[in-house]
């Protein structure tokens, strides 16, 4: 039996376990579909990106078995083929303590809650959260962003929320999950290959806390100001002796009709200095991927939303053996994104995007996105 078959069998068995809950509880079915075209005239960028058409389909089933117990399952079709993306039980006895167990979305950063194409107005993700749809994303180049999103993993999340006075809500959560995988730097493809089991015996862990201030008056200029911090740590290789650490800060607010967002994140990843083939002498045996984004979202009309984003990503450290010869020890990207989302009808939208990429080690590129999708 292949690993993929095992994963689907496990999902099927868990689904059978849902049947009693289905009989007793409320069932919610939702889904989304999105197709995006990424185009660029740069031959170098085209050769190092997932240019062309990429579909993303998702179907989610949520069952409220009791007042405090629910189950959720989500299957996706995208770059990784068909996969059971999420599958967890959720227990919500009190506002201040809740639990999810199974295959969960790991909460890192504000964008982890908005990664679905229907959840953000731009056609692309911020570089720090990009997974595959960025230029020079390959494992021998930038090897993706800081925490490629969605980051789903097997584990347990404990979370809750509390109110400070009447205007400040605090969300907090801590988790233990299988963690990232790889042998010398992270290997994203192995995270999404069934059977999804951990490659070492050590769980990885992290936490996130967000404080949100909500203005009491509808006429206040500054509404819903949120400030969050995220952290994760673990060992990613089979011997569990090479660690990674990621940390991030995020800020969002509504100012009048505008939504402002900014995030910064950093990941430090140990590397194996004993291997041959490095193009530089190793002084510190780790690499650092760090970046930021600042974004303004402006609803021009009821059906037209315009976004402006400026983001950057930096990979610092020795290029790994076999890396793209153009990659240097400090490789950076600066990108300006102009996006437009047209809400065609309820649940239906189209996205247009233009991106100007300024890279330190690769040719400058102009990238265009054209996408359409919907959610129900």
């Amino acid at each position: 039996m292949t690993d993929s078959s095992r994963a689907w069998c496990a999902a099927l068995l868990c689904s059978l376990g849902l049947l009693p809950a289905l009989a007793l509880g409320d069932v919610n079915v939702s889904g989304s579909a999105y197709v995006d075209y990424l185009g660029t005239r740069s031959p170098s960028a085209r050769a190092s990106s997932l240019s062309g058409i990429t579909p993303e389909l998702a179907l989610k089933v949520e069952v409220d078995a009791t007042e405090h117990l629910s189950f959720s399952a989500k299957a996706c079709l995208g770059c990784h083929g068909v996969s059971p993306e999420r599958f967890h039980a959720e227990w919500t006895p009190k506002p201040w303590i809740n639990a999810q167990a199974g295959r969960i979305v790991v909460p890192f950063g504000d964008f982890s809650m908005r990664y679905d194409p229907s959840g953000h107005a731009t056609a692309s993700k911020p570089l720090i959260y990009e997974m595959g749809r960025m230029l020079y994303f390959r494992s021998d180049q930038f090897n993706l962003g800081v925490v490629p999103t969605p980051y789903v993993d097997n584990g347990v999340l404990l979370y809750g929320q509390a109110w400070l006075k009447d205007s400040v809500q605090v969300w907090y959560g801590g988790y233990a999950v299988g963690g990232f995988k790889g042998e010398n730097d992270l290997d994203w493809s192995s995270l999404y290959q069934a059977y999804f089991n951990d490659n070492n015996a050590e769980p990885s862990g992290g936490a996130r806390v967000v404080a949100t201030y909500s203005a009491s008056s509808d006429s206040a200029l500054l509404k819903d100001l949120s400030l969050g911090a995220s952290f994760m740590y673990g060992h990613y290789n089979r011997a569990a002796n090479r660690s990674y650490l990621a940390a991030g800060l995020d800020l969002s607010s509504r100012v009048g009709p505008l939504t402002l967002r900014a995030e910064g994140a950093l990941r430090r990843t140990d590397i194996d200095a004993s291997l041959p083939g490095y193009r530089y002498e190793i002084v510190d045996p780790w690499i650092e991927t760090a970046g930021f984004y600042g974004e303004i979202q402006h609803p021009v009309t009821e059906w037209l939303v315009v976004s402006y984003r400026f983001d950057g990503l930096r990979r610092q450290g020795v290029p790994l053996p076999g890396s793209d010869a153009r990659l240097s020890a400090v490789s950076t990207i600066l990108r300006y994104t102009q996006g437009v989302q047209v809400n065609i009808a309820s649940g239906l939208f189209a996205k247009l995007g233009y991106e100007y990429w300024l890279l330190s080690d690769f040719p400058t590129a102009h990238v265009f996105h054209l996408g359409a999708g919907g959610a129900f």
């Binding site: 390959r138 041959p276 690499i287 930096r314």
Partner: protein, 151 residues
């Protein structure tokens, strides 16, 4: 970056400023003009014994058997002629092994799970089995970098 040097410096400076000038890992001098260290000296005979035979040429995969699901055999005596200089089935513009160029060898893209980036199938090899270790991957790359000799 194909632009002027000052643009390259500006990009790096802006990103560094945005990141608060976070100190990253220190890196020493460049070594060997960028070449992969040939000291690993993996030979195709050694790669056959260590990788192709035990991890690839099983009955249902890259074997010469009529029941094999894969399009090419990696059994002893057949792997070299099926790999070196041969256009890949999934992305014919790339050879399975491009002598001297591991980054453009489709074999390495499949083993590293990066084939989807060049239009190939995303499935990583070996299919349904643990991935090759980084040391094994670099031995293959080192052999390819030396010109993929039939040694």
């Amino acid at each position: 970056m194909t632009g002027p040097l000052h643009t390259k410096v500006l990009v790096a400076a802006l990103v560094a400023a945005a990141l608060g000038g976070c100190e990253g890992p220190r890196v020493g001098a460049q070594s060997d003009g960028g070449a992969i260290d040939p000291g690993s000296l993996a030979t195709v005979s050694r790669l056959q014994d260590d990788i192709f035979t035990p991890k690839c040429a099983s009955v249902s995969c890259h074997a010469a058997s009529a029941n094999s699901l894969a399009p090419m055999s990696l059994e002893p005596g057949e792997s070299y002629r099926n790999l070196v200089g041969v256009p890949s089935t999934q992305v014919p513009s790339l050879r399975r092994v491009e002598p001297g160029d591991p980054a453009r060898s489709y074999l390495m893209l499949k083993l590293r799970g990066a084939a989807s980036g060049v239009g190939g199938a995303p499935s990583r090899m070996p299919l349904g089995k643990p991935s090759l270790t980084e040391e094994e991957l670099q031995n293959l790359e080192s052999w390819i970098h030396r010109g993929a000799p039939n040694d």
